[in-house]
């Protein structure tokens, strides 16, 4: 009797604990999602409704004006072109350089691989800092207002390199020996054999690089003044802080009967910026999960 009572109490407590867990996780997930919802939904609201009611979970009226206004200007097109080309070019070069470099660091035959590893590791613990870096890019290399200033500094990320090193180390060395006996040199081995069998890690690290290039505003903040070269992230910043949105977005030549949709332009630009990421998210999520797991647990 008494024992049953204890069991019942216990299972009641168990069940409410489990419900509590479901609620906590659900609420947290919702909180993560709500800002996205608000931004996306309200980018389709009218400016007057935002001014009148603030941002709402479900706005009453629907309008495409913010998008029409934003897309009519020149800035969004040029910012998109900058961000897309920097991301594409940067990611391709970065993954090539990083995988080649990491392969050598992981290669048993390379006598000086530990020196190279230390040289790479050292840059992670003792940085040059802002001033030296700024002078190098702006003055020594003369890359002010050049797209290369947005690409070159991120070509080799030591952290990503070490993720690849830890992957290459897991490949059996016999592959190498067999290919060497067949007369392949190290270049052939790397490009013909290693790269094809390393597709998962290459995809993962490429996505990390792509995300970094897409989201970065630090380099543009430092080195880009010409608004024709502003990437999307800087465009968002300009729209938040700029008083003269009309001339910046570039809709000034066209005449509009309605007022400038200040909030609308901000929200629409944000949606256009995060759009590709959100659309790709279901497909790329697992790669990031894998990358984070390797990076943190294996080193």
């Amino acid at each position: 009797m008494n024992l049953n009572r204890v069991k019942e109490d216990r299972s009641l407590w168990e069940r409410s604990f489990v419900y509590g867990i479901y609620v906590f996780v659900g609420v947290f997930a919702l909180l993560c999602f709500i800002p996205f919802w608000l931004v996306v939904v309200n980018s389709f609201a009218t400016e007057s409704s935002i001014k009148l009611h603030g941002m709402q979970l479900i706005p009453k009226d629907f309008s495409l004006y913010a998008y029409q206004y934003t897309m009519a200007g020149k800035q969004i097109a040029s910012s998109y072109a900058v961000t897309v080309s920097v991301t594409l070019i940067g990611t391709c070069f970065a993954i090539l350089i990083t995988s080649m470099y990491a392969y050598v660091l992981a290669h048993q035959k390379v006598k000086y691989r530990n020196y190279l590893s230390f040289m790479t590791y050292f840059t992670m613990v003792f940085g040059a800092g802002l001033v030296g870096f700024y002078i190098l890019v702006a003055n020594t290399l003369g890359l002010k207002d050049s797209l290369w200033a947005l690409i070159l500094p991120y070509l080799l990320n030591p952290f990503f390199a070490f993720i690849m090193v830890s992957f290459f180390r897991t490949l059996p060395y016999e592959i190498n020996e067999a290919a060497t006996i067949d007369g392949a040199n190290d270049l052939t081995i790397f490009f013909r054999i290693i790269i094809p069998i390393s597709k998962p890690v290459i995809a993962t690290v490429s996505l990390f690089y792509a995300l970094q290039y897409w989201n970065d505003f630090y380099l543009a903040l430092l080195f880009i003044d010409n608004h024709n070269l502003h990437p999307l992230q800087i465009m968002i910043r300009q729209i938040i802080s700029n008083v003269n949105i009309n001339s910046y977005v570039g809709g000034s030549q066209t005449t509009y009967s309605q007022a400038i949709p200040t909030y609308g332009v901000q929200l629409a630009t944000v949606c256009l910026t995060i759009g590709p990421i959100i659309f790709l998210y279901p497909f790329i999520q697992r790669f990031f999960v894998k990358g984070i797991t390797i990076g943190a647990l294996k080193g």
Binding site: E14, F17, I21, Y22, F24, G26, F28, A29, L30, C32, F33, L38, G54, M55, L96, T98, Y101, V104, K109, V110, K111, L116, M119, T120, T123, F126, G127, A128, G129, L130, V131, G132, F133, L136, T140, L156, A161, F162, N185, D186, F190, N215, D216, F217, Q233, I234, R237, I240, Y263, Q266, T273, I274, I277, Y281, F288, I292, A296, L297, K298, G299
Partner: protein
């Protein structure tokens, strides 16, 4: 002699490493000479080597002012908050996600929690503004509906460590919980089975099995975080706070301070002195705490 033989023997391999090596030399090692500017009165026309040597003048200037402990304290305090709450809440989330047996629910929740990791700080800044702006922000509108006075958030420095911590947790809870979940998944199911046979509740299983077995991962992540405590997240702070000087007293970190000294005041020497101070302090803390982390767990030590 043996050096050249090694290079010749593996010439293709060293050729593969060459672009990466050149990158490191140009972008990581060459700029180290910039630290010299900390000891000089830098003028663009004179260049790095031609500028006048002034010894510790620039450091004196920085350490005599109240700036140095203000930005140092802000950096350490904010990073401390991020670390404690970021890891803490991610740990709770991972433990809870692991208890969820409904797979679709678990997957959906995880996907939502991970999304914020993918957006830039400027988008986050825009979202923050949408919530907190004085006239039309979601928060103030809600306060007004309940008859409360709206708050001028962007003029109230006291609340920002809290707001920034909230934003940090929002953005990185998914990231860290992935790491913790991976560690939890590595635990053998047999422990839980035998615990269940002995009548342990779920909470007891979490407390007596899961937590002790992933303790190392938590401690190591914590130590690595402490090692980087002198490095503020420039993108985050500058993206959200920007040039709003009303909030500097609680949000100005070393990284934003040096950025302003360089880009707004064009004071290369002062900026450089602060950067060198940060790099040296950073080096010391990272090396110390990485060593401790290495002692605790050999596998997850490198960074």
């Amino acid at each position: 002699m043996s050096f050249f033989r090694e290079i010749r023997q593996n010439k293709y391999l060293y050729a593969l490493a060459l672009p990466g090596l050149i990158f490191l030399i140009v972008f990581a090692y060459l700029p180290l000479t910039g630290h010299l500017i900390a000891f000089k009165k830098y003028r663009l026309a004179d260049g790095l080597w031609g500028s006048q040597f002034v010894g510790l003048e620039n450091f004196k200037f920085f350490f005599m002012s109240s700036d140095w402990y203000k930005v140092t304290l802000n950096t350490i305090f904010l990073n401390g908050l991020f670390l404690v709450f970021g890891l803490g809440i991610a740990l709770v989330l991972a433990l809870f996600l692991n208890e969820i047996r409904h797979l679709l629910y678990k997957k959906l929740a995880q996907s939502f929690i991970f999304i914020p990791y993918f957006i830039s700080w400027l988008v986050v800044s825009m979202m923050t503004f949408a919530f907190l702006n004085t006239t039309d922000g979601v928060v103030n509108r809600t306060l007004e509906t309940y008859g409360l006075n709206p708050v001028n958030w962007y003029l109230k420095p006291v609340v920002w460590p809290g707001i920034l911590t909230l934003i940090y947790v929002w953005k990185f809870a998914g990231y860290y919980s992935i790491i913790f979940l991976a560690a939890i998944t590595g635990i053998s199911g047999e422990y839980y089975e035998s615990a269940r046979i002995d009548g342990a509740t779920r909470l007891q299983q979490i407390y007596h099995i899961t937590l002790p077995l992933i303790r190392n991962v938590v401690v190591v992540l914590g130590l690595l975080g402490v090692g980087r405590i002198f490095y503020g997240d420039f993108g985050m702070i500058y993206g959200i706070i920007g040039d709003n000087s009303a909030l500097y007293s609680t949000t100005d970190v070393i990284d934003t301070y040096t950025y302003r000294a360089l880009r707004v005041l064009s004071d290369f020497s002062k900026s450089s002195a602060v950067v060198l101070y940060q790099s040296v302090m950073g080096l010391i803390t990272i090396v110390i705490f990485n060593q401790i982390a290495k002692k605790i767990d050999k596998d997850s030590s490198l960074f």
